[in-house]
């Protein structure tokens, strides 16, 4: 059980974590998500007593880490695969930790077997690949057979077999009644591993809910409805009926309709009442990745911009079209709208989403896209190197297919 209350960490005038409160409960894998620089690692370090919080506190089993009795037997952590002395062999590294924690030395060989490093146990860890380093770090975390486990990016650098192993390991550890807290960038991995999610952005809590809740709250689950192509007036009729019933309708280019805000049976009922035949009525659920992108798009600190190569390119011959940019390049909020067809209508803003995230300080007002939002952590926005300094950092060229009006810009509550 990890409990953070009002956790805040400032480094000089930069606030890395602000007023973070959450609980990580035993018996489940809790995923810890957030963009780069959002304060995940800082939070992990504060949980482990390595950094002192500027305000608030975090406890494990009711104690701050540094006051925890038998800490290494209650908490195991993989913080950083490189947090070992490279000149020491894997076995010596683990042995020194075991001795420090009062763990029998034979446990070292046990965990080396568990992580599959027994054959290279005598080799200096300097020569280890990233994946082997991760395994060594996981071995160190498992050494004390602890009740609480923290893993910071455990699958970084692992091969597919290793990723599967870590996934099963996390689940097995949680099934034994342990508290497992895992940070990761790999959304697909989290979707498979985690039961519960804690999402932070710019050091603040964005969401604390189960994975399924998170996906449905933050992604555009929608129903695709298709009326007979031959009778366009039926389409109009259905659109009107659905809007009247409180749903949102977006026409798709090929004649289909995207409906949000209404469950599928209700749509069917409405169609039936309106005497409209349906050719298609299908549910579309977004992935965790899409939900995550949608939620954190306003909280991303490091965003790439379009490589403009200004002044370096040959002028286009008259009449030639500039190449179509690949979606996702230099567009704020590029998270892919659910993709049925090219050039379709932009998907609606999150206000069309049925359930809004409860704990989103970024979920408020929607200022004009491109307007630099007031940011208390104002710092020079990291810019990809460009030949001329871009005049307005938040106004990269918006290609025609960009979702024009759906940018939930960060609007800090304070």
């Amino acid at each position: 059980m990890i409990e953070a209350v009002g956790l805040t960490k400032r480094y000089g005038d930069k606030t890395a974590v602000y007023n973070l409160s959450f609980q990580v409960r035993p018996g489940a894998v809790t995923g810890f998500l957030g963009p780069n620089g959002s304060g995940k690692s800082t939070t992990m370090r504060m949980i482990l007593g390595l950094d002192n919080p500027s305000a608030g506190q975090v406890t494990i089993g009711g104690y701050p880490y540094r006051k925890l009795p038998n800490a290494p037997r209650q908490v195991g952590a993989l913080l950083d695969a490189k947090a070992v002395h490279g000149g020491r062999s894997a076995r010596s590294h683990l042995l020194s930790l075991a001795q420090l924690s009062g763990i029998p030395a034979r446990r070292v060989d046990e965990v080396l077997g568990v992580v599959g490093l027994h054959e290279v146990a005598g080799r200096r860890s300097k020569g280890f690949s990233l994946g082997m380093g991760q395994r060594l770090g996981i071995a160190a975390a498992l050494l004390g057979d602890p009740q609480v486990l923290l893993f910071d990016e455990p699958v970084n650098g692992l091969d597919p077999e290793g990723i599967l192993w870590v996934r099963n390991l996390m689940k097995a550890l949680a099934a034994e009644g342990r508290t497992v807290f895992v940070s990761s960038h790999l959304m697909s991995e989290m979707a498979l591993t985690a039961d519960h999610l804690i999402v932070i952005g710019r050091g603040q809590l964005l969401a604390d809910m189960s994975v399924t809740d998170f996906i449905s709250a933050n992604s555009a689950d929608f129903a695709r409805v298709r009326t007979p192509d031959t009778e366009p007036q039926q389409r109009e009729k259905l659109s009107a009926a659905i809007t009247e019933a409180g749903g949102h309708v977006l026409p798709e280019q090929d004649g289909g309709l995207r409906v949000t805000g209404l469950p599928l049976p209700r749509i069917s009922d409405i169609a039936h009442d309106a005497d409209v035949r349906l050719w298609e009525l299908s549910p579309h659920q977004a992935s965790l990745e899409e939900a995550y992108m949608r939620m954190t798009q306003g909280a991303v600190d490091y965003r790439s911009t379009t490589d403009q190569k200004a002044g370096l390119q040959q002028p286009l011959p008259p009449g030639a079209q500039p190449p179509m940019p690949v979606p996702g390049q230099g567009q704020p909020g590029w998270y892919a709208p659910p993709p049925p067809q090219q050039g379709g209508q932009p998907f609606p803003a999150p206000q069309a989403v049925p359930v809004q995230a409860p704990a989103g300080p970024y979920g408020g007002a929607v200022p004009a896209p491109g307007a630099p939002a007031p940011n208390p952590y104002a710092q020079p926005a990291p810019q990809a190197p460009q030949a001329p300094p871009a005049p307005a950092p938040a106004a990269p060229p918006v290609p025609p297919t960009a979702p024009a009006a759906d940018l939930t810009k960060p609007e800090d509550a304070r």
Binding site: G62, P72, R73, D80, I103, G144
Partner: protein, 290 residues
Amino acid sequence: MSTPPPPMPQTAAPDWQAAPGSPYPTYTSPIPVVRTHLGHALASEWTKIKSVRSTLWTLGVFALLVLGIGTLTGLIVSSSESDVGGESPLALGFFGLLLGTMCIITLGVLTTASEYGTGMIRTTMVACPSRGRVLLAKALVFFVLAFVVTLVCASLVGFLHVAMLEGNNAGDPSGEEWLKGTLGVSLYLALLGTLSLAIGSIIRHSAGAITIMIGAVLAPLVIALFMFSSSLQDVQQALFEYSIPNQMSIFYANSLSESGPSGWDPLWIMLVATAAALAGAFVLQERRDV
């Protein structure tokens, strides 16, 4: 011994889909829980210090310097057939040990600073949240190691010189001279290394801490060499007398001057300096983020 049940906060969790079974399942490890103490940290630090190559290299070079230079100076003096006039032959061991200080300083700094450089310190601090215990264990393990190695090398060189210089009218060293030339200087060097260890823990950067320590050893002497102005004579004198090489030479009774520290004084000076640096390192380590 059995695991004390981890205290659980009483706050009821709102609408949490509880894991199967009790709302807060707990896991109890079958491995017996031992209350850790300084002894565990000492064992751990001993494993650490002996399992890196830099220990072997620095101490190997140290032994090579002390024994090699000792043998060479002994050979030169004994082959010159000069008359040393009843002086203690132990004094010839000074040169090797003076160069050897560089190795002891390096090892002392690396014992702490390399953990910061590699990030190992975070792993260590997670395994042992009592930070002071870790630093104390490091200091003790290093001190004993450096002391034993220096004592062995200094004693060997002492015996060698006594045997080599028999034909040069060298005096027979008294018990006090033996004590100072082996035990005294070994304690002094081990303390100097522990001071470096404390500086390494404060600076947290290997190269920076080594530079500081080498500067502390050499700079006073070098600066004093160029103080020609008579108004600076007192400063020059103090720098000479309290410079670390001169303090070391006092153990061999061949100080640069007659005034200043004498006898076992250098040991007490170094003891105070080391204690102060270690105290600073303790305080900083408790407060700082790792």
